[in-house]
């Protein structure tokens, strides 16, 4: 991260002094980021868990409550297992970010069951919808009635916590034939306005269901106008983009942006191109829990390496 020259020849303060970095604490796989490159991979034990003074939150995704097919006949049961892990965390996180597909078919009973299990965490949940959350007869009313309070449009919003600016985007509404995920002009205008008064040193966390960059076009794993959102975020020193939808870990670093997709708590999907199509992937029963999980994100003061840990339900 070099000092950026401004047009008038001055320079902005070196962001290293102000940058807060994230560490995903828990038990699971660790990617340590150094100079924007993943350099270490291993296991983080409780000994390295965040100190109580740090600010941490969870990312959970793709619970698909209501799903009962061969890939996992009991998606509610595996969500309960994930929630049990949350309750057992040594350091209580501040809240949950849910990156969509809370339900499988947007049915009231599915939302009810999900809410009941998530409530056991006693944590606030900041959600964005997945496409499975908007397929009620009224095309999204069921979701918005529950999670849409204080949001805009199809459910986008932002909030601040511990000096971090969080932005929940919706890229699963009103999709067009032949296209990918889509944010739309109204949401992009809102985002531009939301960011305009923010200092470049403000750490940003963006979360949305479908990956904002094009991860695998053939399966629709990307967002058509995601680049327009990322362009608005380029000036910030620390941007973390959290997504779901693909039910597997994928990580990419571009400059000051880190992209991370979370595991589902319901069922895995094949890796890009490794099967005729995406969709629920049946694996041997003993392997299932190694492919499901959640993530813990911890923000720490100072120039610490950014690391991501994903906890599976098998560990």
């Amino acid at each position: 991260m070099s000092r950026r020259q401004t047009a008038d020849g001055g320079s902005q303060p070196n962001r290293r002094d102000t940058l807060e970095c994230m560490v995903w604490a828990g038990t699971g796989v660790l990617w340590a980021m150094s100079g924007g490159v993943p350099v270490a991979r291993g296991l983080l034990g409780d000994a390295q868990a965040a100190a109580a003074s740090d600010f941490s939150f969870l990312q959970m995704s793709d619970s698909h409550i209501g799903f009962n097919k061969a890939a996992n006949p009991d998606a509610l049961g595996t969500l309960r297992e994930a929630v049990a892990r949350v309750k057992a965390l040594a350091v209580k996180p501040s809240f949950i970010i849910h990156t969509g597909d809370i339900t499988h078919l947007s049915k009231p009973a599915e939302f009810d069951n999900a809410d009941q299990v998530y409530a056991e965490t006693a944590l606030q949940m900041h959600a964005v919808p997945g496409e499975h959350d908007l397929i009620d007869e009224d095309r999204g009313k069921a979701y918005l009635d529950r999670y849409g309070k204080g949001t805009n449009g199809a459910g986008w919003y932002s909030f601040d916590d511990h000096g971090v600016h969080f932005i929940g985007l919706v890229n699963v509404a009103d999709l067009k034939a032949g296209g990918l995920g889509n944010l739309g002009t109204e949401q992009l205008a809102w985002l531009e306005n939301d960011l305009k008064d923010k200092s470049a040193s403000t750490p940003i966390v963006v979360f949305a269901h479908i990956p904002l960059y094009v991860l695998y076009r053939q399966w629709g794993w990307g967002t058509d106008d995601g680049e327009r959102a990322l362009a608005l975020l380029k000036r910030f020193g620390s941007v973390t983009v959290l997504n779901g939808h693909i039910h597997q870990l994928a990580q990419k670093v571009e400059g000051n942006m880190t992209f991370h997709t979370a595991l589902s708590t319901a069922f895995p999907q094949p890796s890009p191109g490794s099967a005729p199509s995406p969709g629920p992937m049946v694996v041997p029963a003993e392997r299932l829990r190694s492919l499901l999980g959640l993530s813990t994100v911890t923000l720490r003061q100072g120039n610490k390496p950014l690391a991501i840990v994903d906890t599976t339900l098998a560990t």
Partner: protein, 98 residues
């Protein structure tokens, strides 16, 4: 005689319908040609829901879970492009001939 009439009716009923299956995130056949008045039925064989939405709002199915089906009777000639609104890379076409 009665048997022959019955058989004829059964034959006619068969001719007035056509089926499109959804399997591996693909509509098959990708292009279906049918005469006016045909009832077209889509059946979802995937373990995940799909929808069937006409690009020009001529028809729109609610979400189809596994083995659910949706039928639409085509009463006008023309080309009907449709897609799955959950997975919009899934596109296909029904061509209705006069």
């Amino acid at each position: 005689m009665a048997g022959a009439v019955m058989a004829l009716q059964a034959h006619a009923a068969q001719d007035s319908g056509a089926t499109i299956t959804i399997d591996n995130f693909t509509f098959a056949p990708a292009e279906l040609r049918v005469p006016i008045g045909t009832v077209v039925t889509w059946v979802n064989r995937d373990d995940t829901p799909h929808t069937v939405v006409d690009s020009h709002q001529a028809f729109r199915a609610k979400a189809l879970d596994t083995d659910d089906s949706y039928s639409f009777t085509f009463m006008t000639a023309g080309e009907f492009d449709y897609f799955c609104s959950l997975h919009p890379f899934m596109t296909a076409k029904v061509v209705v001939t006069p």
